[in-house]
């Protein structure tokens, strides 16, 4: 198979280059570490630089492909690989962009964060591994590949959360993440097995065709399968009811890892969910008209409402900033779920695109927020809101960046979060699902309240006497500031990526 990329006739696997870059980088990291005389002593700089370059490369190539139109109608059209086990289309590239950029920021920040830590090579290796998995999730087009890539991203994540072996929080978080993850993956696999039972196939398009033809086994089995698959993805996206791992894992994990999981991993989970439900189960869900066999749209609606409500309300009353962010990330999962919930709208691509754009912006603003937490952990100031009092007097630049993240998360016009959130709201209006709209309004108001608690602490409250910021770690700062800049830039420059998002979205609806 040959595809035309930018006028060059190249083998179709070239379309997969972004993911390959990540995979190769992971290998390189292990090589670099292993050629070092004494294990675990590789120079931080090399490892961080290498992985950052890898992630950046994946990000840039994917972006370039997006611009070229690879996998998109205006370009080559969706590129099917390995008999449709993997597919490279606008959506996959779009999410590779998210994953790549987040990974780059995280690895960049980790350079300072991991100062003096052991097993750095393993750390970077695992991060890039997980990133590879996520990028593959974006392309996975068969339940089999989906499960494999999903595990490829999950397993390193468990280890990463528990990376600080001597830190009880980290270990506890890792444990919970692992156990909940194991349970969820088994639910997912069981669901997959039932879907296979109903359809006799794992490749998504084939599943869709088989189901459209009506199946030999009772639809109830299919229904159970679909619900279980949905919950399996709910784990990855940290949505209720499989969100329980998130607060602890995010709180316990090293802040960069929290950033990585809450942004990239969540996005990957969503791309899989989007692809599976919109490629394999549209007829089943009644999207093609007619009443649904299994009304997963309503199920997702319920999950979305519950998720954003639980996440935000719990976040509103936290004492620790990091945990607040963890819960808020659950809330945002609820927002993003609107993309699968408000689908009885005339313009479904609009709805899904809004959700995708939100994930993109969220990738930057949330990563930035967690990296700011990494900064504070690096400074060793406490974790509660009070500990942040008057921080702006010590580190105005970082605090300004954090303010941008928080207000953008709250949906104020200081970052791309403003447009994406309003677009989700618009989507609910278009679909006429007032429940979602009302929930979104209430929650976003509440979120404004608790986000501004941090801002208040940093800017309005007076610093406590012993507040002392001694060091200004360059790479952490760089990561935070870049994230802030991009978050802000995404307000005026929202249009750079939104067309590809909306195109990619509408493609899924054929």
């Amino acid at each position: 198979m040959v595809v035309d990329i930018a006028g060059f006739q190249v083998a179709d696997w070239v379309a997969l280059v972004p993911s390959l870059i990540l995979g190769v980088t992971a290998m390189l990291l292990f090589i670099v570490d292993s050629i070092e005389p004494r294990p675990g002593t590789s120079s931080n700089t090399v490892l961080a630089g290498l992985s950052t370059l890898g992630a950046l490369g994946a990000f840039l190539v994917a972006g370039y492909f997006l611009v070229l139109g690879v996998g998109q109608p205006r370009g080559t059209g969706a590129v099917d690989l390995f008999n449709g086990q993997l597919v490279v289309d606008g959506m996959s590239l779009f999410f590779v962009v998210i994953v790549g950029s987040v990974t780059a920021l995280v690895t960049l920040a980790s350079y300072d964060y991991l100062e003096g830590q052991e097993y750095q090579a393993e750390y970077y290796g695992l991060v890039i591994m997980a990133a590879t998995g996520m990028s593959l999730m974006a392309s996975a087009n068969s339940l089999a590949t989906i499960f494999v890539s999903l595990e490829l991203s999950s397993l390193p994540s468990y280890a990463l959360v528990a990376f600080l072996k001597k830190n009880r929080g980290s270990v506890e978080g890792g444990l919970k993440y692992l156990l909940v993850g194991a349970l969820s993956s088994s639910v997912l696999v069981y669901g997959i097995s039932l879907v296979y039972a109903a359809s006799g196939s794992l490749q998504l398009n084939a599943v869709a065709d088989a189901l459209a033809g009506g199946s030999s086994v009772p639809v109830g089995i299919l229904g159970v399968g679909i619900i279980m698959v949905l919950l399996g993805f709910a784990f990855k996206t940290a949505s209720v009811p499989f969100h329980f791992w998130a607060p602890e894992a995010y709180e316990g994990a090293p802040a960069p890892v929290s950033a990585f999981l809450s942004s990239a991993s969540k996005a990957a989970g969503f791309v899989v969910a989007f692809r599976v439900f919109l490629t394999a189960f549209p007829e089943v869900g009644g999207l093609a008209g007619g009443d649904p066999m299994v009304d997963w749209v309503t199920a997702v609606t319920v999950l979305a409402v519950v998720t954003m409500t639980v996440g935000n309300f719990a976040a509103a009353t936290q004492e620790k900033v990091k945990r607040m962010l963890a819960y808020s990330s659950v809330g945002h999962a609820g927002y993003a779920l609107i993309g699968l919930a408000a689908l009885n709208a005339p313009d479904q691509g609009f709805v899904l695109g809004a959700s995708m754009m939100h994930l993109l912006v969220y990738g930057f603003m949330n990563t930035g927020a967690f990296l700011f937490i990494a900064l504070t952990e690096h400074w060793g100031i406490g974790r509660t809101f009070q500990d942040f009092n008057g921080l702006s007097t010590q580190a105005p630049l970082a605090c300004a960046a954090m303010t941008v993240f928080l207000f953008s998360l709250a949906g104020l016009p200081i970052g791309g979060g403003f447009i994406s959130k309003l677009y989700l709201l618009a989507a609910t209006a278009q679909a006429g699902s007032w429940l979602l709209g009302a929930a979104l309004i209430v929650n976003s108001a509440l979120s404004l309240f608790y986000y501004s608690r941090v801002v208040k602490a940093m800017w309005i409250e007076d610093p406590s006497a012993d507040l002392e910021v001694d060091s200004y770690p360059s790479s952490l700062y760089a990561a935070v500031v870049i994230a802030a800049f991009v978050t802000f830039a995404l307000l005026p420059a929202f249009g750079l990526l939104s067309p590809s998002a909306f195109d990619a979205a509408s493609v899924l609806f054929g």
Partner: protein, 101 residues
């Protein structure tokens, strides 16, 4: 003569439920992992049975993947259980509850 497929389905469901039961009742991290194994294998039963039912090999192949991944999962799991023991002097999953609310 072949056994009808729905019996396999019932079997797998039963195994799955046993696994869930184990997860809900046992506090030992290792047993927890074992229960997860049970659930995964329940899925495998389905996959194999229905691959036979549908007459294609996809399911059987996928079940191999599942087993491999299950193994990997346990590998990581054991590692985490180790550090858990180092930090909490116990592998009771309910003991590790410093972070909540």
């Amino acid at each position: 003569m072949a056994i009808q497929t729905q019996y396999f389905l019932l079997l797998s469901a039963a195994v799955f439920c046993i696994g869930v039961y184990g997860i809900l009742t046992r506090r030992n991290a290792l047993v927890f992992l074992m229960s997860v194994e049970l659930m995964l294998n329940a899925a495998n039963i389905n996959l194999v049975a229905f691959s036979f039912h549908h007459g294609n090999l996809t399911g059987q192949v996928f079940s191999l993947f599942t087993m491999a991944l299950a193994a990997a999962e346990v590998a990581i799991g054991i590692g985490i259980v180790l550090v858990l023991y180092r930090n909490f002097e116990d592998i009771d999953v309910t003991k590790a509850a410093t972070m909540r609310w």
